[in-house]
Symmetry: C2
Subunit: 643 residues, 2 copies
């Protein structure tokens, strides 16, 4: 490495403030953050060990029986166990950056030593192919996730290096990257391939940012640009394997966003995690290269996703069949796939979008997934998970200790571990505040350090006090995100009201002044309970209402209501109250109010009747969606009947 300082740019594009500069001493994220460090990271290693994942790194032993059978696609989960190591190391490293931990580092160093031992002399590194079928490496980019796995290892290596300064893993992965560069590209003698599961692109850009080496950026650009070109690489590759391209089990390369060049894609299609990983990489490239053609495509894709395909919780990808998108407005509730990984990746993507242009449309989605559809993927105990995040249940959905395909646990872990990173970003002349939560941060603007401290019970309370303490008075624009859900925001600076209209652009109120130590900004983001209705074409929700308060989406659980929540009917007139309950799973605001319930009296032995069931007066209690399925099993519903 010549240079591992991220290149500074003298333009208006925002650069995130590293998560380690943002600390949580109390408030909403503290307990999640602590849980990830103290429970999630150690128990995930334990699972990798006891579930025999680590055995794939026993390069000196002959491979044992398959931990997971080969799927009809040709893929087994074991093909990409490396990615689980990578994501686990990344999550652990984000925590190590706050506080070193010899025990965790020893475990990481152990994995790294085994990876290095297995790495081929030319740099190739994939535990499946090296141990089981080295002759077949790079013969099936369409199905077998080689570069996806390498990408996650590389992200882990970068995070581990940044946290500890240890270079070994990074060097292993740079050798692997050099091999990738030697293998794939438009140059004579190289393969014009790209991985069907995007990920390496994100990791390469991270490596570029770490090292300043243009070739990594160039390789990421190559992968993005080559995607979806014709004739398809996957067709040729299938024929070379003696297969008919038309026998592709997922039928269309849109499954991997490889059905047309990325700049021509206007609709979000295919596998949801793949799509959002690709969009994140495209956004990074647009950011680094100021490529407006990429930005234009991304805008269309963002609009399509958020106006046609997004669950109210921030979940995306409604179908299990392709783990992804189907038709517009197809948002079934009980069978929602809404994979945790996909919501996490949506957070990663939208946050990157806000770096290329400050716009609360993006960070509203980031906040939505952070408090809802991504966070629902991990239990309050930090060691049970959801892979799918349905919006309705009859009690059949319970959190898992480990997954058959455990991609989600490490993804939500790395998201929470790095939640600090999504709070602030800076340019030479601006500090942007994207997320509100109790935290303290050190931010650099115009080469001056500024201490920021948010004091708030957000997302449960509307009031945020933001103390701004530069080391000495300094002029900059403080850009405060005004959430799209808030109808009556107000801001004071040192007690003086700020007229938001004139200073607000794209959902950010820019307060430009010379900031002095002790300056105090107060935001009021009033959060009455809101009733949300879905577009009439989202017919699953016809006659139904979802409840939201501030950024938090609510659901009704059987455990609080004594009956299946599907039997509750809200009236459109009744008032709904919000109360903070400190005894609920670490403290949360619940909603409650009058309702009616469909009575089952008189139905014994009768499945259908000419007489409609009676409705009787009842009350309901709703809890934040992200907290569901943390207590006894039972039904759950986001979209309640309303008449």
């Amino acid at each position: 490495m010549n240079n591992h300082v991220r290149p500074q740019r003298a333009d208006s594009r925002h650069v995130p403030v590293d998560h380690a500069k943002v600390s949580f001493e109390s408030g909403f994220w503290k307990s999640w953050h602590d849980t990830v460090r103290d429970v999630t990271v150690p128990t995930q290693y334990k699972r990798l060990d006891e579930e025999k994942f680590l055995e794939v790194l026993d390069f000196k032993s002959p491979p044992g029986p398959l931990a997971r059978p080969i799927q009809p696609s040709g893929l087994s989960m074991q093909h990409f166990f490396d990615s689980d190591f990578g994501k686990w190391i990344e999550a652990a490293s984000y925590m190590l950056k706050y506080r070193r931990d010899p025990d965790i580092e020893e475990k990481i160093d152990g994995i790294v030593a085994r990876l290095e031992e297995g790495q081929l002399p030319d740099g190739y590194l994939n535990s499946w192919f090296i141990r089981r079928e080295p002759e077949n490496r790079w013969t099936n980019l369409r199905d077998l996730h080689e570069m996806y796995s390498m990408g996650h290892l590389l992200e882990g290596a970068i995070a581990y290096f940044e946290a500890t300064g240890k270079r070994r893993f990074l060097e292993v992965m740079i050798r692997c990257v050099e091999h990738i560069i030697d293998t794939f590209g438009t140059e004579e003698g190289k393969l014009r391939g790209y991985d069907a599961h995007e990920e390496i692109e994100i990791a390469l850009i991270k490596l570029y940012r770490l090292t300043g080496e243009e070739k990594y950026l160039k390789q990421a650009s190559y992968f993005v640009d080559e995607r979806g070109q014709t004739p398809s690489y996957y067709d040729a590759e299938a024929r070379a394997r003696g297969e008919e391209p038309d026998d592709y089990i997922f039928e269309t390369y849109a499954y991997s966003q490889a059905h047309k060049p990325v700049r021509e894609q206007e609709e979000v299609e295919g596998h949801a995690v793949r799509a959002t990983y690709l969009f994140a990489a495209m956004t990074d490239l647009a950011h680094e290269t100021a490529d407006d053609s990429l930005r234009d495509a991304l805008e269309k894709l963002f609009d399509h996703l958020t106006s046609k395909l997004l669950y109210v919780t921030g979940g995306i990808g409604s179908s299990k069949d392709n783990e992804g998108f189907t038709r517009e407005f197809d948002l079934p509730n009980e069978t929602a796939y809404a994979e945790t990984c996909a919501s996490v990746a949506l957070g990663f993507w939208t946050y990157r979008m806000a770096q290329t242009r400050l716009d609360a449309r993006y960070t509203d989605i980031l906040e939505l997934v952070a408090y809802n559809g991504a966070l629902s993927g991990i239990a309050r105990d930090g060691e049970h998970y959801f892979y799918e995040n349905p919006l309705e249940s009859h009690g059949q959905h319970r959190r898992w200790k480990w997954h058959y395909c455990p991609c989600c646990p490490t993804n939500i872990a790395r998201f929470i571990a790095s939640i600090g990173s999504y709070h602030y970003s800076t340019t030479e002349t601006e500090i942007a505040v994207h997320l509100y939560s109790e935290n303290a941060a050190t931010v650099t603007v115009g080469a001056r350090d500024v201490q920021l401290r948010q004091t708030t019970n957000y997302p449960w309370d509307a009031e945020i006090t933001l103390q701004v303490d530069p080391e000495e008075p300094v002029e900059f624009g403080l850009c405060l995100r005004i959430p799209g859900w808030c109808r009556t925001p107000s801001v004071t600076v040192n007690g003086e009201e700020v007229a938001l209209g004139p200073v607000t652009t794209n959902g950010y109120a820019r307060i430009a002044r010379t900031w002095s130590p002790g300056d105090t900004v107060k935001l009021q983001l009033p959060m009455p309970v809101e009733r949300l209705y879905a577009h009439p074409d989202a017919t699953e929700n016809a006659g139904r209402v979802a409840l939201k308060r501030g950024p938090v989406v609510y659901c009704v659980e059987e455990v609080d209501n004594g009956i299946a929540p599907q039997r509750l009917v809200l009236s459109s007139e009744d008032a709904i109250e919000a109360d903070f309950r400190s005894d609920l799973l670490g403290g949360a605001t619940v909603l409650h109010g009058p309702a009616r319930s469909i009575d089952s009296g008189g139905w014994d032995g009768q499945l259908y009747s000419r007489t409609p069931p009676r409705e009787v007066p009842a009350t309901f209690t709703a809890v934040p969606y992200h907290l569901w399925a943390n207590r006894e099993a039972g039904g759950m519903l986001v979209w309640m009947m309303e008449r």
Copy 2:
């Protein structure tokens, strides 16, 4: 064969009137019946040929590439292609019994010749095992459907013999049955196995009824009695294959109703077709042996099914995962599996129940599937099919020309081809009329022939004229089914009102008298449009209504209404009209009336809103459920919103 006349019994149990004694010269079933003969039977053979099914019978050639890959269960569809030949021959033979057809017979004879050629010297006959892995025959009854396939071949052989008098196929299959008897049983040296997919039991009882040979009945009894005994045969068999019984992919033998002895089963569980095939066999055994312990179990199972697990259409088995039953009241609409085969088998079972005891509870279900959940499995053109019969669609469900697993097309074909069989049954002193439709029948009661003729536009019209023409005056009880759905039935005999109360038992009005040529019975079964509501625990239907008129369940299709039917809201007060439309798919009664529709005006680009969508006045048109998806693609809904 010593005897191929069905044994006569001198007791009160009913014996069905053979379908060939019941003819359809006009009316509802005529066009379906003609279509099955003229289109379905010939095109199904064409599919068997062009889809390479028949190739599995090329015993002299080495087996080619797999037509279907092996599933994780170890099963491929090809393992049971024989069953498709069996069911196709059975359906074709039912039609041959009305009218011989040299072309069809040549095709059947061709299949039979090839089966005979492949049959092993000991009688074993299964095209998969003989050609691919003869050494493994009878090593996996849990997964591989050997006797299921043999059972369907045997049913086909019996039907073909009865239609044509040709004995070759029957002899082939009797050799196979003798081999089964030699192989399985409680006797020393035999295996105590039974097929996990029930079917051979039904076929063996048919063979007993044809030949009078007790050993076939005894073998069926053995299979039924052995089922679910401990220790499990499937455990031992798995261990003998070197597998862990606990690795069973379906986890519980309840999947095959083999988790406990059949007489101890009180809840309907597992794979829906397997369950109903078993229950049909149990009913036949109860019928033949007057075994009350079987009847008691069947009563409980019938009650459980119909009060907890039955779709309003007569569909059963809500989940794709096990092709079967889940928890009670779990009746999702859009993801309903409700396999055509399962509804057909439910018809077979309930009709058998009515033979052991005349009770309209059973034949109401037979009628329900005949006009709804089974008939929906075949298109009006007679050559497209549904495997799954959902109660809601967003237009993604279209009928198939052929199936990956084509069990349903031949099953619905044999059901319609034999629909005559379900109309009447007799004892020495009674004639029961189970189904109403335009038809003419010759029935024997007390050794006297009686001509029956129903003149009616049923199920569209309420009036049925039943002419009773014995060859000479004869005394018998005419038992008329009074459908459970009918609130105000009335009957006249030669113009004189019959007081139904005193003569009606278990839903059958028994009119005992001396019947003379020209006697005329008129039934009025008034069928106003009924609104049906579901049990409150069937929460998918909360706030929803289904429309039914007589035996016919209705649905709303987008093609008639111009918008997704999920956006229609019925008022509970508005009147609903019924009109016969002769131009609709061969003629059918449609329902229509006022409604409101959820308007999508003003929603451009917005997926969620604080403002509920407007409801605007509209009208709706509903068509019989069995006719859905015969026109242009679009949404469909059985359970409409009602407020």
